[in-house]
Assembly symmetry: C2
Amino acid sequence: MAKNTTSNKTTPKKITQKITKRNAFYAQSGGVTAVINATACGIIETAQQNKDKIGKVYAGRNGIIGALTEDLIDTSKETKKTIAALKHTPGGAFGSCRYKLKSIEDNRAEYERLIEVFKAHNIGYFFYNGGGDSQDTANKVAQMSQEVGYPLICIGVPKTVDNDLPITDNCPGFGSVAKYVAISTREAGLDVASMSETSTKVFILEVMGRHAGWIAAAGGLAKDQENDPPHIIIFPEIAFDQAKFLRKVKSTVKKCGYCVVVVSEGAHYADGQFLADAGSKDAFGHKQLGGVAPMLANMVKQELGYKYHWAVADYLQRAARHIASGVDVEQAYAVGKAAVEFALAGKNAVMPTIVRKPSKKYAWTIGEAKLADVANIERELPRNYITRDGFGITDLAREYLEPLIQGEDYPPYKNGLPQYARLKNVAVTKKLSNKFKLR
Amino acid sequence: MAKNTTSNKTTPKKITQKITKRNAFYAQSGGVTAVINATACGIIETAQQNKDKIGKVYAGRNGIIGALTEDLIDTSKETKKTIAALKHTPGGAFGSCRYKLKSIEDNRAEYERLIEVFKAHNIGYFFYNGGGDSQDTANKVAQMSQEVGYPLICIGVPKTVDNDLPITDNCPGFGSVAKYVAISTREAGLDVASMSETSTKVFILEVMGRHAGWIAAAGGLAKDQENDPPHIIIFPEIAFDQAKFLRKVKSTVKKCGYCVVVVSEGAHYADGQFLADAGSKDAFGHKQLGGVAPMLANMVKQELGYKYHWAVADYLQRAARHIASGVDVEQAYAVGKAAVEFALAGKNAVMPTIVRKPSKKYAWTIGEAKLADVANIERELPRNYITRDGFGITDLAREYLEPLIQGEDYPPYKNGLPQYARLKNVAVTKKLSNKFKLR
């Protein structure tokens, strides 16, 4: 229909098609990952394969904010090659945001605005790619559209490095962080081991996971033999006990000559206070916004006198597309593809999930969860994934985690550096005259 | 000669061989790297290829300390496969140490002890793999052996992530850190860019390099186009100016929406005080052993109010064998191989260097430097490698750095993790009755 070569007449059939063929809206939400763009790629490519049913895929510039402000990106302006390159590009190619919509009761205007923008751009499909909060938002948008009688199919698409969504066996984004943390722990462990005789005895690696210890647990995969690092993992699920920790550090240094600690940023005392917040003020009396790694390192130095090093991986871990898990990339693409297929099958207010098959060899398939069942639930690391002493992972945890870091999906390189997609991100012409004021 | 099957008689010829064929001693010194074991591999394999001239290669357990305490590792007890795997194994496989021998005048006993141990184990070749300090030590050992009339060939082998050795175009170990830092900057930059609308506006990555800014400069390779990250690099070669820095952060956030900073751990004020030391004490009045990244992040927050994230790569950067530079691995192996070839050619008190050929396409060869010319000299980043404003790298720097990060030499993987060599490190039976007390 693009090239109008055969006829200038618009047949009734074509009109029908124009009306029934509706556009899609896609937005990235919350902290980005090494593979969230692989999900975007899955959505856009699958929509393109169904051109008879889905028109254009518009992406929200900076997530849902793009919808509220009518700042839409026309993904059809990118080349096929660029869209394909999203599969190996970290970060959020269209921009993400930390902006949680309030409840419909508390801010009805936001939901009405979304529907207004969707209507103006003939958007019939809403794909929201994020964690628990985002699934909640997608569910509310689904409710609202039914309430006002605007036909909109709302599909949540899972993403979170924290791996804390319920129902789905795991979350796209997690496997790659897990792989990065396991590899980094193994590599830094070898470094410390070689330095320990005369220099560094304790190495502390801080990883993400404010409420759940999945990422810290992944550090445990670095260990192959009993005395291998990491020797201590500190989980948010286990209250931090300073005396016990220091005893364990000391006995480990005695036994192995050195001690490698992986600590979750969410490590906290029994009273709930985060270790990262516990301490120190700077010379001006301002609270020191340290990390938990330097805080623990100071503790070790002061109480045990060991020389230490510490690292805080921060964004490096969740952006590390250069060493993404092959399984993770595949699953991230698959949930995007499934989201479009769900929409085309007329499903609504659901989210594709990863289902682990009960086979001995790891195998997975795509399942389906109701958004209402996913929204706002955080899945912690089960207690039986953590060793009795609270400092390691069990075989059960290993069985769960290991398949998720399989495969190396290397990006292409040029001049020694990975070549990541560079999008034009062309704006869709605005159709509404009124502006929306964000909170 | 190992299997005594043909004859039990020891012919005169064999005796001569036994006397002339002498063993080699190899030690790793100072901070280890992702490729120092590739150098070890080059030395051991090349020695094995010259079995008629070199006996066994003994490694010092924990570097030169192993020689002083007569704690030698018999590398011939490892399989060929394990030795080959050293080429892709980070850390120091035999242990390294931070132990600088004093001058001969100040501690003659140490040098005499080395000679004593070497004599006891028929060691005729001394390969010392380290930075400037180690080259100095190797040179002194060469002097001492001549002085006491013990025939010993001393070859220094370059290694340092800091890239601060003179004469050699670059140092094995640096290219891989450079690649890691450039990739991490690019990846984290994409992450921050996607979050900046509502969340993180400033990201600060702290990298190694206490006295020279080579590693920080490598972060600059992440930039392909004008507004790409990193937007600011802080070098130890340029005194830190807080007001100028904050102005640049502010203008960058205005222009690009976010700001990525790469800072060398050696960043300091005009009076020489390190930024990392400048600040804060904890609640107990102890000096806060922060890093420079959190210190700068606090500064940005307090003065400009931007939300920030920071990362400290620490050992992760120099242990990151999973993304080692192909050129670096090749050169690390080559200097090991050349060291043995130099020794067999009768050269003494020299170090193999990397020589950049004057061709348009990057090409290199092995050169030779006298240890006396290398010892204790630190090479800083030239001023014309840094942009006029002090916050970036020039095209000249890029031309120098780019070839060093070429190629991806991936290690083998099993179960989602790199498989690194695991050595037996079998001790050589001691021959001396006296023990040596380390300082």
